[in-house]
Symmetry: C2
Amino acid sequence: MSDRLWDRTRRRVQEEVVDAALALFLEHGFEETTVDQVVAAAGISRRSFFRYFGTKEDIVFGDLAEQGPVILEALRARPDDEPIWDALRHAFGVLSTLVHPRRGAAIGRLVTSSPALRAAHLEKHLRWQQVLAPEVERRVGTGGAPPGLVGEAIVATALACLDAATTTWLGQGGDDLDELARLTDLALAAVRSG
Amino acid sequence: MSDRLWDRTRRRVQEEVVDAALALFLEHGFEETTVDQVVAAAGISRRSFFRYFGTKEDIVFGDLAEQGPVILEALRARPDDEPIWDALRHAFGVLSTLVHPRRGAAIGRLVTSSPALRAAHLEKHLRWQQVLAPEVERRVGTGGAPPGLVGEAIVATALACLDAATTTWLGQGGDDLDELARLTDLALAAVRSG
DNA sequence: TCCTCCTTGGCATTGAGTGCCAAGTTAGCA
DNA sequence: TGCTAACTTGGCACTCAATGCCAAGGAGGA
């Protein structure tokens, strides 16, 4: 947040590492590319790399896993009487502002092609789920079920549909964000009519 | 499946390693327990361990991730006109026959307490999803959506609800399987009425 | 300018997972 | 029973991700 030279330098270096790494990942694959190759390409020491990115996966996801509160804020901003699915879909919309648009599709493709990244991706969803579930349950009530169950189930379902839609979306180009929203709605509709 | 001495010995050793390892995991935690400690407790060499279990996570999950076809078989056995959610919930019932009942709750608790195990657990769901989605989509149709989307979304939702129900179930004891089925139905109902 | 805070990179170490090989065990067969 | 082929075992060395420690150097305020 600050603007001291240190912070600006840090952000610049981080960007450069991500650029160099994504290029390597896309060419050779995520698992096949070692951290040593990345740091060599980025001109940084191995030790410093692990201070910028706690894990190799963090190159791809950045601090997205910690952005649950941002999504929560977006969800809170939706009107209380809006159907929960619409509110969630709109709240997830902020994600597109958190990811470099040019990188979005590339990241998506990487994730589907690497078990380690898929796992990190799902773990990220779990983190968001824990943040969002209480607010969802506040809106829809527990419906007689034990506390927690309904909120968790609804958020997990919304994320699952978003994922299924993203898979389809990437398969057909992955360039139009409105199309992704449309596919997400189709998935949610299928689940609710089933 | 064969009954040569080799195979029986293999199964026996495998069971012993799992018993020793689960005891260590429950006492000290999954991440905190090293493979070296496990093999020392089980009286087997480190190298042989990695022939029995490809990864440390495999101690906990065994070959559950490869059992998608078994669930698929159970799903195919359900009548074609049964509502998809009932068919899926019943199909998932075979899982309780694949896990040592005595170990089930212990495994559940381990999974919720270790990021590495949670990731493996979700990756396992993804594997099942790919196996089950086509049969689900055959039953319910695509409803105008691109092929694949509806099947993926429905299976992912069912698994998400099963997971949410399992979390609640473990929190309240985790001993009665009928109660788990009831909680799963509650979760699914909440999702569909939302 | 001096002093403090923070970053950097090198080194050593841990822990998971793999390839290779020599020695031992089992199974099938004469 | 004895021989051989198939398979398992465990030791060793290695790769790769990740972490703790430490000395050196740049940034920023007094």
